[in-house]
Amino acid sequence: MTGNMPFLVVGILFFLGLYSILFERNLIKIAIGITLLEASANLLLIVLGYRNGGSIPVFTLAGEVETMVLPTPQALTLTAIVIGLATSALLLSLIMMLYKHYGTLDVREIRRLRG
């Protein structure tokens, strides 16, 4: 059971992100929750591609290697990280403009003021 601990970490991260998206009122905390969800998805991809005793998939100065971890999940995770970075920047920019427009970050206040 303890061998499957990385999946448990993925579940905990996913649940923390979902909780902060559903129940938090501050927009910055919602953005942090979205980032946590991205982190859990990336961690799930990496964990699925691991082999016991595997080394990194790089041949430069590798020495004697028998097994390597899978390269494709790592490549796709690299893509997902950069997209997550760009969307986080756009998300925070929109939150800054919302704060300038409404003067608050509370989603209830924003919904109440001007449709």
């Binding site: 999946f7 964990v47 591609g49 998939p57 790089v58 796709l76």
Partner: protein, 90 residues
Amino acid sequence: MKKSVLFLIALLVVVGTLWGALDGIHPFGEVDKAPMDDYYIENAQRERNVNNLVTSVVFDYRGFDTLGEAAVLFTAVCSVLAVFRKGGYD
């Protein structure tokens, strides 16, 4: 009170879904069948003359993904510049 009930329901749904999904997943560290990745590990050095397999997958075998990803990055930068453009939003 209402919030805690909702929290418990969400907890049960998420834990149940993930627990059910754990049955279809291989144990940690024991990938049984991965023919595509084994092909990359065996043949990428001979076919593409590259040492870093992750880079070979990102930029060569799956270059289309990286093209779309670069376009997404460009679009996000353009959107940030449009949000903060001179003269404000109104």
